[in-house]
């Protein structure tokens, strides 16, 4: 564990020039190891540390190169006004942050993200749990049903998005045609074109897309519930519902909480499906933080503003992740004491 604390330093220092530092560090350590070779205890401890370092270093180097460096670059970029060409010279301090945080499109985007976080869990948790419990029973066509539910998750986001765009096409799309066949009419501007409906339509597509992940995780969790508990409960005369309520769901807790975390982070970073379905429109009704920053960055070349938005997104995601970790996931990582 101690190495976990020290290794970020190792990773952070080569961030600017990874190769020389990583290479430079080894010779410095090695002579020390051979000099103290006579003292067995110290030597073996050192060797252990060295080994840990050797195995952790690649991961840390990659982490530094692809996580720490980009974050640092984003922070740096967010303090400048920069159009994407030439050196960073126009230092504006925190002005980009002010502009992002007072921009109604961005604050709306944060609200949309939070709505998606909340609704994803509220909709997919009961629905996914229900389907998982159903599919966990021995029944005809079980594996076929499992596959059907999991297929949307396997489909590439872009492919699924384009299919939905076609399905939801106003007037000529399949959904409006089906509605027309039973004498109903789709909304005037289409499901994705009406600012009041677009976010809800997006939620439907997201539920369709990600329900499979919830179900598959829950099913995996269900496999780990010991069979004996069910048998014991049955002997005690518990009904199916009682068994689910008192045994299955409590024992599924860690899986549910982990899924909740994944779902939350995914919802905060949501980009591709929105970009394909609506580009954040109509009238910014489906903008998320990620579409906002792509729009400002690569579309409008306001890289400073995009940098500031990405830092805000990072801070929000980090805050929520830590909060979730502290409040909810913690009971899973604590040593198992009183649990039976």
């Amino acid at each position: 564990m101690a190495d976990d604390v020290t290794t970020p330093d190792v990773a952070a220092s080569p961030a600017t020039s990874p190769a020389p530092d990583a290479a430079g560090r080894t010779p410095r350590v090695r002579p020390a190891a051979s000099a103290r070779g006579g003292r067995r205890g110290v030597s073996s401890q050192l060797r252990k540390r060295l080994e840990i370092f050797f195995f952790v270093a690649p991961a840390c180097a990659l982490f530094g190169l692809f996580v720490i460096v980009p974050i640092a670059t984003a922070v740096q970029m967010s303090l400048y006004k920069w159009k994407g060409i030439g050196p960073l010279v126009d230092f504006v301090g925190l002005r980009n942050y002010v502009s992002v945080l007072t921009n109604e499109v961005f604050t709306d985007a944060v609200v949309h993200n939070l709505i998606i976080v909340g609704l994803s869990i509220l909709i997919q948790l009961p629905l996914g749990l229900g389907i998982a419990l159903l599919l966990n029973r021995k029944m005809w066509g079980q594996s076929a049903l499992r596959t059907i539910i999991f297929v949307p998750y396997v489909l590439a986001e872009v492919v699924a998005g384009v299919i939905w765009v076609q399905l939801l096409q106003p007037q000529y799309g399949v959904i409006d045609a089906l509605l027309g066949a039973v004498g109903l009419e789709g909304p005037e501007q289409g499901w994705l074109g009406d600012p009041d409906l677009a976010l809800w339509t997006l939620m439907v597509v997201l539920t369709w897309k990600y329900l499979g992940l919830a179900v598959i995780l829950f099913l995996a969790g269900l496999q780990s519930v010991p069979e004996e508990l069910y048998e014991a409960a049955q002997l005690d005369g518990a009904g199916w519902w009682q068994v689910q309520r008192k045994i299955t769901i409590p024992l599924l807790g860690p899986t549910l909480r982990t899924w909740g975390f994944l779902s939350m982070i995914g919802s905060l970073q949501l980009f591709d499906m929105v970009w394909i379905l609506t580009r954040g429109g109509p009238a910014n009704a489906t903008t998320t933080m990620a579409t906002f920053l792509v729009n400002e960055g690569t579309q409008r070349n306001n890289f400073g503003i995009a940098g500031a938005a990405s830092v805000v997104l990072f801070v929000i995601a980090l805050f929520m992740a830590v909060l979730y970790q502290q409040l909810i996931l913690r009971r899973d990582t604590r040593p198992e004491t009183g649990r039976k």
Partner: protein
């Protein structure tokens, strides 16, 4: 055991170091390796005619140039969006070896940024003859009286319409430059005949924004717009009037169902697709429309029903009726390029090169010697209007640059969604321009 572990560890570490070293060497190597391609015997050229006849023609031009001068042209034909992304990345690298010698420029604010950062070469003196030949079109590629790109194609935006559907709606006479009343007459007749008059890809914002740009060209004089851009002061009432004109058009509800979620050109249910598949009667689009439509029909042929007329004029408008709105493509030479690159850009503007370009319907040539060579009938209709003596205002989002242009387009898209008025658009432009 320990020994094995240690050696494994050493291998692991060694490979990381090697990988990192390789990564760094890769960077250094590529810049070093390209150094010998930067000499005067080889130039790099990026363009976006990446399919069919257009690609073949450009490859042939490159070969002809090499035969004539002995300078080898390394051609990179890319899909348009890919090219823009790669250009942006090349400019960001600031490395002359990464930046192509001859590349496509769209002028306006983007070019201004390139000039300010010193990545593009001044062609005013080096290509003086060519610039004189195409002087009618170099205005949008001029920054502080210096010309930084040679426009080779200049198109204008207008209404492409389906002649069959117009006839079906009983519209016998279509004016090549109608008044707004005449235009509304078409819309009403189409409506009565149960035909959707117009499609617009408001999801992508810019197709909707073209309405506003054109209304600005009609309501404001060319100089008013230019001086507003120069002084970053958009308080002239003509900009509000333009917004009101667009609101009037939207209030007629002439657009396809669900236009807010309709894309510009992606597939048969996009705005262009709806026109190509005869679901709507008209679309406001640029000179690319026949080409785009050809890719969206079932038989992949350019439909033969295309007619074209200019954006309507308004009573008491402040703009010259001969002024049009459009845009073009030009060849720029990067600052670090050898002189041969300038020769190549000039070669691309020569009479022969432009005539071949026109014969293959690759665009609307700027060289007057080639304007009669445009083979396609629908396309050639645009030439007299374009060359009718008025100014051609660049697409305003390109003109204003990505930052202000993006803010403007989004505000106009909001107007199409009924959530912004004429003043909101002007405010969006004003505040984006001020914070630039």
């Amino acid at each position: 055991m320990t020994r094995t572990k240690r050696s494994a560890a050493a291998i692991a570490l060694g490979s990381v170091v090697a990988l990192l070293a390789a990564a760094c060497a890769g960077q250094g190597g590529s810049s070093g390796g390209n150094a010998d391609t930067a000499d005067a015997d080889t130039i790099t050229w990026w363009h976006n005619s990446n399919t069919g006849e257009g690609k073949e023609y450009y490859d042939q031009l490159a070969a002809d140039f090499e035969a004539e001068t002995g300078v080898k042209v390394e051609v990179s034909a890319m899909q348009h969006e890919d090219m823009l992304t790669k250009l942006q990345a090349a400019f960001q690298s600031g490395d002359d070896e990464q930046i192509p010698d001859v590349y496509m420029s769209r002028g306006g604010g983007e070019l201004k940024t390139e000039v300010e950062t010193g990545v593009v070469r001044d062609l005013t003196d080096d290509a003086a003859d060519e610039i004189a030949t195409i002087s009618g079109f170099t205005g949008q590629y001029t920054v502080d009286d210096k010309v930084y790109a040679l426009p080779y194609s200049m198109g204008i935006v207008g209404f492409w319409y389906n002649k069959d559907l117009f006839a079906q709606a009983g519209i016998d006479e279509v004016s090549p430059s109608p008044t707004i009343e005449e235009f509304y007459g078409y819309v009403d007749k189409l409506d009565k005949a149960g035909i959707t008059p117009l499609s617009v890809g408001a999801k992508d914002a810019w197709p909707a924004a073209h309405y506003w740009y054109y209304a600005v060209v009609r309501e404001c004089s060319f100089d008013t717009v230019e001086s507003a851009i120069e002084s970053k002061d958009y308080s002239d009432p003509c900009f509000i009037k333009a917004g009101e004109d667009v609101e009037d058009i939207i209030a007629k509800k002439p657009f396809n169902k669900g236009f807010l979620s309709t894309g510009a050109q992606d597939g048969p249910t996009s705005a262009s697709g709806l026109l190509a598949t005869e679901k709507v009667a008209m679309e406001l689009a640029g000179h690319w429309e026949p080409g785009v439509a050809g890719g969206l029909t079932e038989d992949e042929q350019v439909p033969d029903f295309f007619g074209w007329f200019a954006f309507p004029t308004f009573d008491g408008q402040g703009g010259d009726p001969a002024d049009q709105m459009g845009g073009g493509d030009a060849w720029s030479v990067s600052a670090g390029a050898p002189d041969a690159a300038v020769d190549f850009a000039k070669f691309l503007l020569s009479d022969e090169a432009q005539q071949g370009f026109a014969e293959r319907n690759m665009g609307l040539p700027t060289n007057p010697a080639a304007t009669d060579s445009v083979a396609d009938e629908a396309l050639s209709q645009l030439i007299p209007v374009r060359d009718g003596g008025g100014n051609t205002q660049l697409y305003l989002d390109t003109r204003l640059g990505k930052s202000v242009g993006g803010a403007m387009n989004d505000a106009i898209a909001l107007m199409f969604a009924g959530q912004a008025g004429p003043q909101d658009i002007v405010d969006a432009i004003q505040s984006a321009a001020e914070s630039e």
